[in-house]
Symmetry: C2
Subunit: 250 residues, 2 copies
């Protein structure tokens, strides 16, 4: 069943009015009719099964049938900062990262990022990325759409990093040195609603100096197991591990 | 540094002789020379840094420089059985599943698999899949190449499943019903070297009757968190969770 994130809070007893792109999607793409059911998600993350009551040329009016009760979101907020990778790998990270519960994504221009970021062409790319994140949030039944930042420099990322309760940098050398407990220690300390930022390198990894700068700025280096993970796999490992510890193992 | 799985066990004090496709790769693709270093992995999973001593028209002779000491493989064996998905999704599962430590892969023809398996064309596909698994094992620094089965029917898979110590079936309905502990319980019981099989549905999931048959055959249904995971994401979640519990949290 299709899922739509609506912009306005729920007004008790009133129909929800859906317009714009989602109206187009419901009416022209999915060709739904009065009586069809959809999921609706409100800005406060409450969500429900809704029934289409009326379709007009610019709005779809929906009534609430039944509120969803299960909690879809991770108890903590996890933001994935990825060194800009080549090709469409970031799209893979955004899509699967959203399925796996990330709260936000911050691509950054790492020293070894081969892709050079062009501000003009970049605008279209970011729009495309936003679409991917939104669709993935709908498909995985999330109750929020993860944030997406335009690509930042490492400096800009470090400024933004100040707002997080925990900062981790996934670093291959740490795995090689047998580091196995830092991620696990953070996850046993972290409290509900706290914000965690995890930084990953591009293909080729982070340089030693990038890792040093991160450490100087309060990032805890952590290993992600003994095997080498590609730039697009490492964030998925981290998110899965976090979900497993905080949502399954409870 | 390139990694090569050699077919013969190490003979103490003797040079390792590499021929065939890997000889071609070393000499023609990578254009290595005498003195170049490579990783070599033996059938018993021991591995070392080797130095190329001599290159001839059909063999590359390598001496051992230093044995690798870190353990790259998971302490248990995890086989991923995936309902045949569309397009190239299985290739993603094979590549990333290998990075994440799977011991083997068994594609199977699920009721909702849209792809119809053609035995003749299938042979080429399996060869391609084997190549993907081998390259991923090399790139992620594994010391074994995961097994890959040709696609089986569910019946054939259930016969094969008898050889496993634990059998799990990832089932969305379980997540919806709030099941969070079965995976975790199995992981706290499982002993080193034991064999675990996890079954995943294709797009559209497993049918209720497929799940019933699995349960009747000793499969434990388990949830993988509150969000819907795509057919190609779910195995990666499971492998990451297993690695996190058994390799990081120790």
């Amino acid at each position: 069943m299709q899922r739509y994130f609506v912009g306005q809070p729920y007004q008790d007893g009133e129909w929800i009015s859906i317009s714009g792109e989602d109206h187009h999607h419901i009416v022209r793409v999915m060709r739904m009719q009065e009586g069809s059911e959809i999921f609706v998600v409100f800005p406060d993350q409450s969500s429900a099964i809704g029934k289409i009551e009326r379709i007009s040329s610019d709005a779809v009016d929906v009534s609430i049938v039944e509120w969803e009760s299960d909690k879809k979101e991770m108890p903590i907020s996890v933001t994935i900062a990825s060194g800009l990778p080549k090709g469409d790998k970031l799209e893979w990270i955004l899509q699967k990262g959203t399925e796996l519960g990330a709260s936000g994504f911050i691509p950054f221009k790492a020293e070894r990022s081969i892709v050079k970021w062009d501000e003009k062409k970049g605008k279209k790319k970011v729009e495309r990325w936003e679409k991917i994140v939104k669709e993935a949030a709908e498909q995985s039944h999330r109750t929020l759409i993860p944030d997406l930042s335009s690509p930042l420099t490492l400096k800009e990322l470090l400024v933004k990093a100040d707002g997080y309760d925990y900062k981790l940098v996934a670093y291959e050398e740490e795995s090689r040195a047998g580091e196995t407990s830092n991620l696990s220690n953070v996850l046993s300390e972290v409290k509900p609603s706290q914000r965690v930022l995890i930084l990953f390198g591009p293909e080729g990894g982070l340089t030693d100096s990038e890792v040093e700068i991160c450490k100087e700025n309060g990032f805890i280096p952590c290993g992600l197991g003994p095997r080498i993970l590609r730039t697009e796999t490492a964030p998925l490992y981290a998110l899965s591990a976090i979900s497993y510890q905080l949502e399954l193992m409870r």
